[in-house]
Symmetry: C2
Subunit: 244 residues, 2 copies
């Protein structure tokens, strides 16, 4: 079993990460948040787990939405320190653990959430096996990851072809680690196809209840015209599944 | 309600289509067939419907696999004439209908199959509503379509970037008709995202049981080295779903 890279605890990455809109503004700084929120079930009185909780934005939001108990797990000490700097809520517990090796209590959660963390994990099958066990029957898993169209290419940058802007897609079906220079050099992400995600989810005993390839809405583009380019290729995808 | 383009009955298209490996060699000439076959349930004594049956290759194969009754539907008179030129099998019935407007009897089939036809259909929701009704409870829908990565771009052709071969992806999230010059000029296909297919399927009361973004196996590439390029981007995707 390998351990995750924990790039978030590198000084360079953490300092750059802190400047992203989603770090400064929280959930409302993430353009895919409204679509992700729409996949969530009612949280009132539910026990909620956030895998890769970062600064704890979602944990606090879940409490505002009525969640009874919230647990946030992250591998990064720096992230958890920031999460702990907010006013304490006895119904939120933070825990440091590596998602490659984390152990979860069985039948302990009604909702498991994760935002943009699973593509850092090599052992997704192992993790989702544990998530399945940690959920109550009928419990929900809702998560976002980078879209494989975004993670696949050898050079993941817009290309001007002369007839327009294009996304140079290659190696889509070649799964495995991709080393990227994003906020720091040598960030390791794990590229897997949509088939692989869906086969993993349905094979473990979940029913797929939602799948969104995220793109900006017309209103988002009106407010932020540079988002228009995102319609050429989805950067994120969002899943909702129910434990059978 | 619109009618489909029925490009298959154009002389130019039909003549060129007749030369494709999948036309000459049948199912074995289609590299994705082993993966599609793997999604099929047991056919013995089942009632099977093939939407967009073309020359009838699958209808005849289904009978060899033990299917009790097989119905093949196609909009193309030329295709059906070719299908009818094979030795008659009283358990196979061919019928001419446009998949945009076709009516299907309720609870009449155990398995509905379709190979590379649904991306010609504008009204997929309507068609799959009818398919759902035509299936018995627990019945299976198995189909292949062009992958949206393949259908999206303004110029769907390999591009040499200087650092390798790439697929110039753009307009992925912009759904709708695409006019293509493929075997004939102005062939109209309907581009929709994977989200749209899955949302349509699960929203109509199917459970998604299989999803494959097709790529060549190592053995296929060894036998046909030009297939290696197909790993850069999937050309087809395959779905299996069960009527709830």
């Amino acid at each position: 079993m390998q351990t995750a890279q924990n790039i978030y605890d590198s000084e360079e990455f953490f300092a750059n990460y802190a400047c992203l809109p989603r770090s400064v503004r929280g959930l409302d700084g993430a353009p895919e948040w409204p679509a992700l929120r729409a996949l969530l079930p009612e949280l009132r009185d539910r026990r909620v787990l956030d895998l890769g909780c970062g600064y704890g934005w979602f944990c606090r939001w879940a409490r505002e939405a009525g969640a009874g108990q919230v647990v946030g797990i992250d591998v990064s000490q720096k992230m958890l320190a920031r999460a702990g700097s907010y006013p304490a809520d006895p119904a939120i517990g933070y825990r440091r653990a590596d998602l490659e090796t984390v152990e979860l209590p069985p039948d302990a959660f009604d909702v498991v959430f994760s935002s943009l963390a699973f593509h850092y994990i090599a052992g997704l099958d192992r993790l989702l096996t544990h998530v399945h066990r940690a959920l109550t029957a009928g419990g929900c898993l809702v998560f976002s990851v980078e879209h494989p169209i975004y993670s696949a290419p050898a050079r993941p940058q817009w290309l001007d072809t002369g007839w327009g802007t294009t996304w140079p897609l290659d190696h889509y079906l070649v799964e495995g680690a991709r080393s990227r220079d994003w906020l720091a050099t040598g960030v390791v992400k794990h590229h897997r196809t949509i088939s692989s995600y869906i086969t993993c989810i349905t094979g473990l005993g979940f029913s797929l209840t939602g799948f969104v390839e995220w793109g900006p809405t017309d209103a988002q583009i009106a407010a932020q015209p540079e988002l228009a380019q995102e319609r050429h290729r989805p950067m994120f995808m969002l899943f909702a599944a129910r434990r059978r």
